[in-house]
């Protein structure tokens, strides 16, 4: 119908549609923006405000200033434990997950037969529901009738060594590794697949050149593979760290945060505060502490990456 838009104007084509695009654009944005405003932007501000109150939803909210924060950071011993637990999970899960993922990806990238089947199997836990996974691991770790404990007993009796299975989920020292194992089982397939994609982008000439120079397999890994996938390593490090900060379902289902709060995580604590103890303000304060931690850690990693992440074509300095 608008065949009359003949080309007599010197303006570039796209400028001519500008006036009506203004309102059109807002219409296109409206559904997303309304949701964004109501369920993201306003709640962010509300949560900050809420963290300055004590509110059980039953009685009127009471303004307490920064008390929620100061108590968390000074006198709340459980929260201190929660932080220690969270850091434990970060320093174990993140490196192990990256190492296993890279190892598997490098192995699968050798032109191996059966790549599809291996990928199918290793990636399978990624798509499973964490509740079911945590349930079966709880049963798996059971000291008396679990298959893991049975294997250890067998090993002990066969070899005559005095090894006994730990009481994984009832022993504060073992419950954390149990959560780590569950998380590794669940997520390693993801890092593997991402690394696999990165490895496939490494030019083979680099390996050929290294071979010509007489580099051993390990040297080729050290000086070709590792630097070439370092942007991926950085990316995975950041998102796995954020994921480890937000650990919840694993602990909620498998250990209920116990024993003796050994697997209580930050998000679990938010859940407890808000939905078990009805302390909305305190819960919001914990959530903000979580956010600040994630923010600082991501910032530090972004700073540090310049020292070790190798960008092709010298992009980043």
């Amino acid at each position: 119908m608008t065949a009359s838009t003949s080309s007599h104007s010197p303006l570039p084509r796209w400028r001519r549609y500008q006036p009506d695009q203004q309102w059109e654009a807002y219409l296109f944005l409206l559904p997303s923006f309304a949701g964004f405003l109501i369920f993201v932007a306003i709640p962010v501000v509300a949560s900050l405000a809420l963290s300055l109150f004590e509110w059980s939803l039953l009685s009127p909210p009471e303004f307490v200033g920064f008390k929620n924060y100061t108590q968390l950071l000074s006198s709340d011993l459980v929260f201190r434990k929660v932080l220690v637990n969270t850091f434990y999970f970060i320093v174990t899960i993140v490196p192990l997950q990256l190492a296993f993922g890279l190892l598997l990806a490098v192995a699968l990238n050798q032109g191996m037969r059966g790549l599809e089947i291996y990928r199918l199997i290793y990636f399978m836990p990624v798509v499973t529901t964490i509740v079911a996974a945590a349930l079966v691991f709880q049963w798996f770790f059971n000291r008396d009738f679990g298959i893991l404990a049975a294997a250890v007993w067998e090993l002990g009796s066969k070899t005559g060594l005095p090894i006994r299975p730990p009481d994984w989920l009832n022993d504060p020292d073992w419950a954390k590794p149990a959560v780590v194992i569950l998380t590794l089982w669940k997520n390693t397939g993801f890092t593997m697949v991402i690394y696999l994609a990165a490895l496939q982008g490494v030019p083979t000439e680099l390996y050929d050149a290294a071979k010509v120079d007489g580099a051993s397999a390990w040297q080729r890994f050290r000086s070709v593979t590792f630097p070439m996938v370092s942007p991926t390593t950085f990316f995975l490090m950041v998102i796995q760290m954020i994921g480890a900060f937000q650990l919840f379902s694993e602990a909620f289902v498998m250990t209920q945060g116990g024993p003796a709060n050994a697997t209580l995580t930050i998000v679990y604590y938010i859940y407890q505060m808000a939905f078990e103890f009805q302390r909305m303000g305190r819960g919001a304060a914990v959530a903000w502490v979580l956010f600040i931690f994630i923010f600082i850690f991501t910032l530090v990693q972004t700073r540090l990456q310049r020292r070790w992440v190798h960008y092709e074509a010298g992009g980043e300095s």
């Binding site: 997303s32 964490i130 049963w139």
Partner: protein
């Protein structure tokens, strides 16, 4: 069986440090070692599934026998009947399906419209608004969870499907992902359509969306799976079987049948089965979808 499976991280054997991305097999002996390591690793990955299935088919006396066996005898199919009679898993399926389908389609609709505006339309405040969107990408869901919960209570949406669907019908991440992709589509295509008199809406519907098949497929799988497996938010806002999704239903089941491992494992199998079946038949799409979305479209 049991002796080979004691070490889940079998893949860490030095043999698997075979660096390099050699395109063609060069070391046959090396491959053999790698296969052994990878198979051991696969057994470790599959063992929890096998243990779940085996337990779900055992009778209680079989479960509490030492040493445990991976082969139930006799096979007790009744456990599944008992499980669905104890808990309405059929209902949970329906709830999960309804929620996941709604969330996925709404999220893709709202996000693709917004992404189209950000990628293709010129309007005041475009860059600023996009920056505001991006800035919130870093904020964890947990920060907004409590105010959203209060809002849901205030709206009297607690324990309704509205609570499960509406707050997740929008996604900053999806807008970001789609905008990236839309920008890669040659602008000449929509200019040509515009010259032919197509409205922006038609360009979105008939030019941009049909050309975005791969990213839409990836996002669909990513969002659907995320919604299907989501646990914390549904746990917080649903309070009856009428709205419980599969993960929350399974957690509730656990709360009531704490030590009936045969039933809990049968429930777990029921919870996992549909996703795993679809996954096995559409492995490539799943991996692509999660990789593409997981990488933020890079």
């Amino acid at each position: 069986m049991t002796t080979t499976t004691t070490t889940p991280p079998t893949t860490s054997t030095p043999a698997s440090i075979r660096p390099g991305a050699a395109p063609r097999p060069t070391l046959k002996a090396g491959h053999l070692v790698l296969h052994v390591a990878l198979i051991l690793g696969s057994v470790a990955m599959l063992l929890p599934f096998g243990w779940m299935l085996a337990t779900s088919l055992k009778s209680p006396p079989q479960i509490f026998t030492y040493p445990p066996s991976l082969v139930p005898s006799p096979v007790v199919w009744r456990n599944y009947l008992d499980t669905v009679q104890a808990m309405p898993f059929g209902r949970f399926y329906l709830n999960s399906l309804f929620v996941a389908v709604s969330v996925t389609s709404l999220q893709i609709l709202t996000s693709s419209l917004a992404a189209f505006a950000f990628a293709r339309l010129r309007f005041r405040g475009r860059e600023a608004l996009f920056l505001v969107y991006l800035a919130t990408l870093m904020i964890p869901f947990h920060v907004t969870m409590i105010p959203n919960f209060i809002l849901i209570r205030f709206l009297r949406w607690f324990d309704t499907f509205y609570a499960l669907i509406v707050p997740t019908a929008f996604s900053v991440f999806a807008v970001f992902l789609l905008r990236q992709y839309f920008r890669g589509i040659p602008a000449e295509l929509d200019e040509a359509a515009r010259m032919d008199g197509a409205s922006s809406f038609r360009i979105w519907a008939q030019v941009i969306m049909p050309l975005s098949g791969p990213v839409l497929a990836a996002l669909t799988i990513f969002v659907f799976l995320g919604s299907w497996n989501d646990f914390l938010w549904p746990l917080v806002v649903s309070n009856s079987h009428a709205t419980r999704t599969i993960p929350v239903g399974l957690a509730t089941f656990r709360g009531q049948y704490n030590t009936d491992w045969h039933l809990l494992m049968a429930g777990s199998v029921i919870a996992l089965l549909p996703v795993l079946l679809v996954y096995v038949f559409a492995q490539k799409r799943f991996v692509e979808g999660i990789t593409l979305s997981g990488m933020g479209g890079r």
